[in-house]
């Protein structure tokens, strides 16, 4: 057993950190650390800088534009990226639909879509949830009717984050309403958002980022060549994505980032005329969460240690989303508490320090953490069944 990074890995971290310090323009840096984080244009600018460096898709195969780094270097890179300012909309292409196209797509699809994802020329959003299909995703109703060489798509998708900026949407649609098992009548379909009949209506989230959308489809014509993974095979494709997401949602980088901010804020505020960070009670509150973070970090290191050896992470990786999302909520909540009355601030300039301005919106945004990517209640259902093998009714 060995819990330290090697000298080469530490040097790699320094190299990544130094480059990010140098390459990220001051304006982007300020925006990333401020209220709401990077907006769409800023995120695209950051994407293109990373692409030019060759670091945009470390987890992709080298021949498709990846870096060829091992699991540990990818982990380190992600941590550093999340510390300076995580990419936003890019993730949907790079980490969600991209890997699925690689795994299930045709050669033509790979050539058509992957390079544009890589270069930041096309952005993607996800069309899974519907107003009446949330946790019970398999009951989705958006239809794709067979019309010869194409489908006619009708219905509504919701929580389609960044659809207002995206070029394409990857959807789960119902292609066989008569299938005995509802999971078997679903197809994974790529839709160009510029197609006539598509209507995107953004809505504000609690964090006031215009991230969510309702996306409506009214007799939208979609060529059959946009099926990924075969007709009525959509559920299998979607499940593969859940596997990709598992370690992504441990939120190690974001947690570390908030912990840093939290301590910084506590060092600038006073209680009984002394810095809060010197007050044993406040230090203890922070310490409790930091110790929890360490335990969580060790679970993700265990998964990393498996991946580094080319093995699938063990069953304990299934708790990463459950623990990490709760932790980020507790951390942002403590940051709010440390700010006291300053936690009232909402997208002001010059009222509070920028780092404090960033907390409220982020706190609100991460209320979604325990809901997105399969709500934590659904996660528990799955772990109870798949890992603890508890009986079903």
């Amino acid at each position: 057993m060995n819990l330290t990074f090697t000298e080469e890995e530490d040097a790699f971290r320094q190299e990544v950190r130094a480059w990010m310090q140098e390459a990220m323009p001051e304006g982007l840096r300020r925006a990333a650390q401020g209220a709401g984080g990077l907006n769409f244009e800023e995120s695209v600018e950051w994407h293109k800088l990373l692409y030019a460096k060759g670091w945009i898709a470390p987890h992709w195969p080298k021949e498709l534009g990846g870096t060829g780094w091992d699991a540990t270097r990818r982990f380190i890179f992600n941590e550093e990226l999340e510390m300076v300012g995580a990419l936003r909309i890019s993730v949907l292409g790079l980490s969600m639909v991209g890997p699925l196209i690689m795994q299930f797509g045709t050669e033509a699809q790979k050539q058509r879509f992957l390079p544009k994802i890589l270069r930041g020329e096309e952005f993607w959003c996800q069309g899974y949830s519907e107003p009446n299909a949330g946790s019970d995703l398999a009951s989705l109703r958006m239809t794709a009717e067979d019309a010869g060489d194409h489908f006619i798509v009708n219905g509504q998708k919701t929580w389609t984050s960044w659809a207002q900026n995206a070029d394409w949407i990857f959807c789960l649609v119902r292609t066989d309403p008569a299938a005995a098992k509802k999971q078997n009548g679903i197809t994974f379909l790529l839709v160009d958002l510029k197609t006539p009949g598509v209507d995107v209506k953004p809505m504000l989230t609690l964090g006031h980022a215009p991230a969510f959308c309702d996306t409506f489809f009214d007799n939208v014509k979609v060529p059959k060549e946009n099926i990924v993974g075969g007709l009525n095979q959509g559920w299998t494709v979607a499940k593969a994505l859940l596997g990709h997401e598992r370690t992504l949602l441990a939120l190690i980088g974001p947690s570390r980032h908030v912990l840093h901010k939290l301590k910084h804020i506590a060092s600038t505020k006073t209680v009984n005329r002394r810095p809060m960070l010197e007050d044993p009670k406040w230090r203890a509150k922070i310490a409790r969460l930091e110790m929890r973070f360490r335990a969580h970090l060790m679970v993700s290191y265990r998964a990393l240690s498996d991946q580094q050896k080319g093995k699938m992470p063990g069953p304990e990786a299934s708790i990463l989303k459950l623990v990490g999302t709760k932790l980020i909520q507790e951390l942002t909540e403590l940051a709010m508490e440390v700010m006291g009355e300053n936690s009232l601030t909402w997208y002001n300039e010059g009222v509070c320090a920028p780092i404090e301005e960033s907390i409220g919106p982020y706190f609100c945004y991460e209320r979604s953490a325990t809901i997105y990517g399969g709500s934590n209640e659904i996660q528990r259902n799955v772990i109870a069944k798949m890992i603890l093998q508890l009986p079903s009714r």
């Binding site: 203890a284 360490r294 060790m298 265990r302 508890l390 009986p391």
Partner: protein, 374 residues
């Protein structure tokens, strides 16, 4: 970064776990508890023969030159069936202290026989007012001829009523100092007290006990630093044991949920209980993961890299580990609160581990006061 045990470590884990299952099932703990014997010197000798008592010690004293990781492996696996032999008290508390503080002659006289399973040790460090501070002691060591006289009272000395030798902390003019004292020396008055987990500990009155100069471990005043270090080993050891306890309790509970029927169905099919079980799984995996960090860190000399993960691990035992114990009992229903069912025995052991070597508040305060944590 590698969290996998090497091949020898995996083999050690398997051997100890097989021993626990086959040769010391919980009934054995129960029997020795009920007949007042506590543990069996013959089994202790066998552990010595198998080499388990020497895993963390250097070869020159008869050890196997391993690391604390091997110690933690033995502890975790012995805990799965509550094996009562005094591994923690004798190998970790007594042995690690002696190994660090003693000279070659003292190692040969006291440590080597313990490693061989011929004797056991105990560490008498805590006093009524100590509250996890190894320096907050009132026992004195007064010069007397070429040696010392020890005067004071020690509390909750694990294995203190059976050990061949006690390691006693006392204040000499140079500060906290450690001495080796035969349990049967004149003036050592031992009272046995039962503990919540079905074991026993000793209250020890030292009534002007005469010790020779060569019973002193190290220089006068060197004791506190050694004991601080031992407490880190002990905390990591308690956590390793806690992993064995938590994992076993979780498995027993999952098994129970899968067999017990009410309302005509297995109760494990109820979502409320499934979700509870999943949260128990999460807490026990967090405990196992941070325990791995603490067992590796325990051997680090630099306190700045050693303490953080050890406190974090003991904190997780106090929060997550205790919670797993509570919920295991709750999910067993009425049978869980009988002495007849094993689950309660594990429950009590978890609380004993929680109370030893720094509780939740102690480790939160320590972590919070550590500049390197912040």
């Amino acid at each position: 970064m590698d969290f996998e045990l090497d091949q020898e470590q995996q083999m050690l884990a398997k051997t100890v776990s097989d021993f626990a299952k086959n040769e010391s099932p919980v009934e054995r703990f129960r029997k020795l508890r009920d007949d007042g014997t506590g543990y069996d010197p013959a089994v202790w000798r066998k552990m010595g023969e198998l080499g388990w008592l020497g895993v963390p010690f250097v070869e020159s004293v008869g050890g196997f030159g391993g690391s604390f990781i091997e110690c933690a492996i033995v502890l975790e696996n012995l805990a799965t069936t509550l094996v009562p032999e005094p591994y923690l008290a004798s190998v970790v508390l007594g042995g690690m202290t002696l190994a660090r503080a003693g000279n070659a002659t003292q190692h040969e006289s006291y440590l080597t026989p313990m490693i061989e399973g011929e004797s056991t040790l105990a560490l008498a460090y805590s006093e009524a007012q100590s509250r996890y501070d190894v320096s907050a002691i009132e026992t004195t060591a007064t010069p007397d001829g070429s040696g010392y006289r020890l005067l004071g009272e020690k509390v909750w000395v694990l294995n203190g009523h059976r050990a061949d030798h006690l390691i006693v902390s006392a204040k000499a003019s140079g500060g906290v100092t450690l001495f080796v004292v035969p349990r049967e020396a004149e003036g050592v008055n031992v009272t046995v007290a039962k503990t919540i987990d079905g074991q026993e500990a000793a209250f020890i009155k030292l009534d002007n006990v005469a010790v020779a100069d060569d019973a002193r471990l190290g220089e006068e005043g060197s004791g506190a630093v050694v004991l601080d270090r031992t407490m880190d080993y002990a905390a990591a050891a308690a956590v390793a044991e806690g992993v064995g306890i938590a994992t076993t309790m979780l498995q027993m509970t999952v098994d129970y949920l899968g067999t017990r029927e009410q309302f005509g169905v297995k109760i494990g099919s109820f979502q409320a209980l499934q979700h509870r079980a999943v949260d128990m799984y999460a807490e026990s995996e967090l405990l196992r993961s941070i325990s791995m960090a603490s067992m590796v860190r325990a051997d680090e000399e630099d306190p700045r890299t050693r303490r953080g993960d050890i406190s974090a691990a003991k904190y997780q035992l106090a929060t997550g580990g205790i919670w797993v114990a509570q919920q295991s009992l709750q999910l067993h229903g009425g049978i869980g609160v009988t002495d007849e069912h094993d689950i309660g025995l594990y429950f009590k052991r978890m609380y004993a581990l929680n109370a030893l070597f720094g509780d939740q508040e102690h480790h939160v305060a320590r972590f919070a006061s550590e500049p390197s944590s912040f």
